[in-house]
Symmetry: C2
Subunit: 268 residues, 2 copies
């Protein structure tokens, strides 16, 4: 259901509180992937479920989502459990189910932050201004991609084999939407399977596990707002049915907001 | 308890089967860390618990361990649950508890592998032969480190501030031990907190979450046996109490065995 004036991402994230840490959501056609929903939205919805929990402490520090089985179009239920709450962090276990069958499991650590010695050791790749990079359209069967404005300097989807799997782009929600932890989570998954890029064609592939490490504080996200995010991702090894992809998401001003580390299943 | 002739690592991994997917182990003094047990052994013990489960399918594909609280010296119990079993992979949820209090949570994906298009895209850093690099001793209060032979070319523990957090070394069990998935898991955690290296001193720090992505098959581990592993790790950002560290473990012959991605808590 789309609410007039609301963002498709917020519609997709909508959860009904059922009590006892359980929430009901439903899949969202604008965020469909080639098969089933876009994993980024699923991961974001899990973050949102914890955010809605009355016992939640702090903001996301890390999230691991394991995609255990397909999610069918329609309603799903998320169960959340605070396994352990410490003074400054909290450990969650989550399951997303449909008709009693678990489709997705996740763990999350939320926590509070404090002023410490700080250092930004990595640096973002050099990029032209977003206005100087063309936007690209994805094919219609990758519906979710139309909710992102993507301006690639490397790794745009083509039908040519590539010697490497590096993708680098400016990205933001389309239409623009002020960033929050849910949208940052989702954005960590915008890098289509790196095997497509290497092989220059679609092969059967799907994320098995996605880990997101959050560096951004709520203040960092407020500062970022709806500006362009610099995203870059690459794979290290494709071996016997599984490959990895590591992504970095950088703020417009050049600080690291989050990283994503995936294991992706592939055939052929 | 040390069995004559057995390796300290195997002693540390020892689990008693309690039924219903539960296992009892105990902490192992040779693998103590500055506070509590070495996280690598804890992670390895969780892998071993799944390996012991009669329903286990295949070998580790990915593991995420969340260190939720301290583990006291003595016995602990691990509960394992196969949340979902598919044709080629299996999703696990695990908890390590002491006296009914959860100290560690984890998810794991195990799976079978198949011949596919393969590519090794990353490459290991150039290194001299292990024999040409000196071994280093760690201080006694980092007991676990004495179970590894470590030959650093960058990032040996010193009392000097470092401009970067890169550590690179040859490593193997000491005494040598043929590699299995448990020891590969443990080895992904041998990189002492990167903040020590940057600051040239010990600060309060501890891993919150460790994700291991496994590329190696059982055959790859047999080929590696007890040879030297090339390990390299670095941090991207230290920010408000949390930093990351990403590690790569390469075989003697130059293929990627596993990667590790951590979030580490630090003070000051």
């Amino acid at each position: 259901m789309t609410h007039p004036g609301s963002h498709a991402f917020d519609d997709g994230l909508t959860l009904e509180t059922l009590g006892d840490g359980r929430y009901r959501g439903r899949t969202s056609a604008p965020y469909n992937n080639m098969v089933g929903p876009f994993g980024g939205l699923t991961a974001a919805t899990l973050v949102r479920a914890v955010e809605l929990h009355p016992d939640r402490l702090g903001d996301p520090v890390t999230l691991t989502v394991n995609f255990a089985g397909p999610i069918a179009e329609g309603e799903f239920e998320i169960s959340t459990r605070a396994v352990r709450t410490n003074r400054s962090n909290q450990h969650w276990y989550l399951e997303l189910s449909q008709n009693g069958t678990v489709a997705t499991t996740a763990t999350a650590v939320f926590g509070t932050r404090r002023t410490t010695w700080d250092a930004l050791e990595s640096s973002p790749p050099a990029m032209p201004d977003p206005a100087d990079v063309d936007t690209v359209d994805f094919p219609e069967f990758i519906a979710w991609a139309n909710n992102y404005e993507m301006r690639f300097t490397a790794g745009a989807l083509t039908e040519t084999e590539s010697a490497d799997s590096v993708a680098t782009l400016w990205v933001r929600d389309s239409p623009p939407r002020p960033m929050d932890f849910a949208s940052l989570t989702s954005m960590s998954d915008i890098f289509y399977p790196r095997v497509f890029q290497r092989r220059g064609k679609y092969v059967a592939a799907g994320t098995i596990s996605l880990t997101v490490h959050f560096f951004a504080t709520a203040e960092d996200l407020t500062a970022q707002s709806d500006g362009y995010v610099l995203g870059t991702a690459h794979a290290r090894r494709f071996h016997q049915g599984y490959f990895d992809q590591t992504a970095e998401l950088w703020s417009t001003s050049g600080t690291l907001l989050a990283t994503g580390h995936q294991v992706v299943y592939y055939k052929d």
